[in-house]
Amino acid sequence: MAGWLEQNALLLGLALLDGLAYAALVFMVAVGLNMVFGVLRIINIAHGSLFAIGGYAAASLGLFLAARGLPDWTGYVALVLAAALVGGILGPVIERGVLRRIYGHEQVLQLLVTFALFMILEDAQKLIWGVQPVSNDAPLRLLGTVDVPFGEDVIPFTAYQLFVLPGVALATLVGLAWFLRRTLTGRVIVAVTTDREAATAMGIDARRVFLLTFTFGAGLAALGGALASPTTTLVPGLGAATIVLSFAVVATAGLGQIEGAAISALLIGIGRSAAVYLAPEFEVVVPYLIMVAVLLVRPQGLFGVVETRRV
């Protein structure tokens, strides 16, 4: 065992680095989903489509700017701008146009409405961007690689994945925590998350909070997609694959919990990377196994609060 560990410690160190970058992306998608659920009590199946559309928009905008001969660094501006545009447009359109009509309906209807949106957005995305893979790796190339020592060898990692992704995720986490705890709007959101009835009874305009949160959540999904676009390739079906993973993260985290989303994204990200080295056969099921294991011990998720009923 000790010998094995010695032999593989270096490799596991590498897995940790990869896991971190992956976890950062997973976190970005899941945290938006989790916030939306916390406030609206709706699991948004179309969240993965927003991720994909954010990615497509970022890649297109980046390529567009590059074609205009703008400097390379504008590629990063494109990432954020595209996310803001997607969130700012689709968020309110979906919330006002569709979701608002079904608040208070049965849970299954709310879930299915977002399933319908998912189906529509998947095809809409295909109509806009076609089916050929779309990618723009300028933001990835610009920062180059960093050589990480590995025994006598070195392993090049991209600076983007090593620093930018975890950095942005961390900044998002800290920023969100600050926003939710220190700003008035944030505290209103928290109040609605913890006790909607009490919050509305206190005169909080829930509709405004819902709109704000959904738009913000959509923006985070789009930002996740935008941040993924330099490393991944955008193809039809990306949204469907993304959303199931986010579900696992959110259920593991405990609903409405942002710190929980961070921890479970880390667990799942690193677990997956480690699996690639240790048990590649299990790589795909790692997120689900982690989720089932966590929920067996803590049925309300890592950070979820048990709701007690008064009788």
């Binding site: 049965e106 849970q107 399933f115 319908a116 189906m119 579900f247 056969e281 795909v284 049925p299």
Partner: protein, 315 residues
């Protein structure tokens, strides 16, 4: 809805299916698949009655289909494969249900999803066993000992599906009206009261869950024997979504809803795919959206509305 009216509607449906199948050969296949999915959706309906949404019933559909795929070579008899698929899917449902019945709402939905996705991954991973995405071909088994011509086999599968659809429809109808079914509805509104009446809500849900898994298995077996080729896509989460879609489209009111929904779903998909091959998914999405926003009672509710009745609760 009066019992008599419902029976006449069911008979009308059976006659309609047979007439359509007689007139248009390709519909035999599509209707068989629709009836099979309707049977699976009956299971979704049971769980919906408890206020629980399973986003993972593709697990049972696909396990039924794979039971057929694995056993058909050594046991080529449809009438044996069907109960075996039911049994095995029911057993999987029992094991999963013992764990899942502890959870409610979104956790219930997501855990179902997780378990079905693990199963889906296994179907793809265990390539030696399942041939991965290539899937397993199913030779047409005998039906009641008879080796049928392919034409007769297609008819036989339709009739088997029809008989099972009617049978399970009646079973679910009785179940929903029974104390177990009514207690199921109690889980949705006041689970704690059930406990304070000495009834284990978990067991009430578990029983319904196992029944839903069993029906999923039967449906999968029919799908497997009808398509005669089984692939892991049947276990993907979008298939589960499709089942819930059909449940809502049909309307969660009565046992006829799932079949109404399934037939409509398959036909809309065919028409949409024929008219806009690249955007059938969006069209289905729009249909779903319209149903939810403007006819939340589903087709069944619309039908009752036409007949001048309010979409009622349990039949």
């Amino acid at each position: 809805m009066r019992r008599g009216a419902e029976i006449s509607l069911a008979l009308l449906g059976v006659a309609g299916v047979l007439a359509a199948a007689w007139a248009a050969p390709w519909l035999r296949f599509v209707l068989t698949i629709a009836l099979a999915k309707g049977i699976a959706v009956l299971g979704i309906l049971l769980l919906l009655r408890a206020g629980q949404v399973s986003f993972g019933h593709a697990l049972y559909l696909s396990s039924g289909a794979y039971v057929v795929a694995f056993l058909a070579p050594s046991l080529p008899e449809a009438l044996l494969l069907l109960p075996l698929a039911a049994l095995i899917a029911g057993l999987i449902g029992l094991v999963a249900g013992l764990f899942l019945a502890r959870y409610r709402d979104i956790f219930f939905g997501m855990l179902n999803l997780a378990i079905s996705m693990v199963f889906y991954s296994l179907l793809e991973k265990l390539y030696e066993l399942t041939r991965g995405t290539d899937g397993i071909r199913v030779e047409p088994p005998r039906v009641a000992g008879l080796a049928l011509t392919l034409e007769a086999y297609v008819w036989a599968m339709l009739l088997v599906a029809l008989v099972l659809a009617v049978g399970f429809g009646m079973l679910v109808r009785a179940y929903l009206a029974s104390p177990m079914g009514q207690a199921l509805a109690g889980i949705k509104t006041r689970e704690t009261r059930l406990e304070f009446m000495g009834v284990s809500a978990r067991r009430v849900l578990l029983a319904a869950y196992v029944l839903s898994a069993l029906m999923g298995g039967v449906a999968g077996a029919i799908v497997g024997m009808t398509t005669r080729h089984v692939t892991p896509l049947l276990a993907y989460w979008t298939t589960s979504g499709e089942l819930v879609f059909i449940a809502i489209l049909g309307g969660a009111g009565g046992a006829l809803g799932p079949f109404l929904g399934a037939v409509t779903y398959e036909l809309v998909r065919v028409y949409a795919a024929a008219a806009f091959a690249e955007a059938w998914q969006a069209i289905l999405g729009v249909v779903l959206l319209l149903v939810i926003l403007f006819a939340p009672g589903g087709l069944w509710g619309m039908l009752l509305g036409l007949l001048g009745r309010r979409p009622g609760r349990a039949p």
